[in-house]
Symmetry: C2
Subunit: 201 residues, 2 copies
DNA sequence: CGGTCGATGTATCGGGACGATACATCGGGA
DNA sequence: TCCCGATGTATCGTCCCGATACATCGACCG
């Protein structure tokens, strides 16, 4: 069940408007946090899975023409394919967006997608996800801290620096989450269905 | 050519002393930065590749010999496989450790392994890797920054926060690298061959 | 003495991700 | 006109990971 991250993100983007793969990929890069852009080798298979599962449809009905063995150069038209979310897709997305347990925040990438689509998430679920994520990351930080304490004598300065930097990053993440939580408590964002994106498309 | 990270790290650890897989995995987790522990589903295939390439050997030559019941089954030894680096393995490791170009620092994971084995790296190569890494990360930061500036109006507060946090992390990494560089320039660590690990086993 | 529990330990499998690569169209500037 | 860079779809080989299975061992407990 590993590969839900990409599917989730795709459904979220298609929720906003139909798109073709190329644009999907660019938007994905924004949504997934700026670094880590998704490769086409992941994207197209994911779209294929979603299509097979009936969660998205494409225009372009019959591209798989039965080409003969000694076919002509096949310089046939390879057109744009626009993907649109289906009713089942929206259903599935609503289901994913309403998850508030560990499956929503234990995996950092999955948490990132949840965060990216918080606009579609109920305010109380948002808070539970943020707090759950903070607990998870705090546990990571503690593990890292004690591991660093244990190995402090055994490792050379460079490895130690690497660990220290990692610990610092995790620590910063906890603080970042705390700020998000505070801000969310002070003034919850608009709930699902109350407001589309600020500027519009 | 993707999977050199793991091979590199394994060779580096086996350089210090022979080990079996289980311990290799624990050490790998330290070396790879604390988070991101390597799974056995990656480790054993990697060891198999290294073995096939002649870079490591195993004791335990014929484990698949049908033990007769009368043979006293050397208690405690049954099943463990100790991996030892070969001469070719050491050669390959020396080759990897002396790389100072983009292949050493463009990929963050590969850079991490280089850093973890800086003990075996010449002082000038160390500096070049650190500076190269800093340039790479600075470029990432700038890309992220301008992307954030471009999308500031279009995205909702949560996605923006995610991007801001990511940018902050990258920015911190640049500063961390700068500190490493300064420290390295002030007082270079011992060069290769000058010093084994500080505490020993 | 037996039981079982957690640490140690080796190994594989299915499925997903990724980098590389190929193929294809199109607007615009030299 | 011609090529170049952006847009665009798609696959292949290789690797990685989570899950799983299996096995041995020392220790603690009844």
């Amino acid at each position: 069940m590993g590969g839900e991250v990409l599917e989730f993100a795709i459904l979220g983007l298609l929720q906003q408007s139909p798109m073709h793969g190329y644009e999907l990929r660019k938007r994905l890069a924004e949504v997934l946090g700026g670094l880590r852009s998704i490769s086409y080798g992941s994207l197209y298979p994911a779209l294929k899975r979603l299509h097979a599962a009936g969660l998205v449809t494409t225009d372009e009905p019959d591209r798989r023409a039965p080409l003969p063995a000694d076919a002509p150069p096949l310089t046939g038209r390879r057109g744009k394919v626009v993907y649109t979310i289906t009713a089942e897709g929206k259903e599935r997305f609503a289901e994913l967006v309403s998850q508030a347990g560990p499956e929503a925040y234990d995996d950092g990438r999955l948490f990132g997608v949840h965060l990216a689509f918080f606009r579609h998430t109920a305010a109380d679920v948002r808070l539970r996800i943020l707090e759950g994520r903070r607990r998870t990351v705090e546990r990571q930080r503690d593990g890292l801290r004690s591991s660093l304490a244990r190995t402090r004598e055994r490792l050379d300065r460079y490895t130690l620096e690497l660990q220290r930097h990692g610990l610092d990053s995790v620590d910063r993440e906890v603080r970042w989450l705390s700020e998000l939580i505070d801000s969310e408590r002070r003034q919850p964002g608009p709930g699902p269905g109350e407001r589309p994106p600020p500027g519009g498309e």
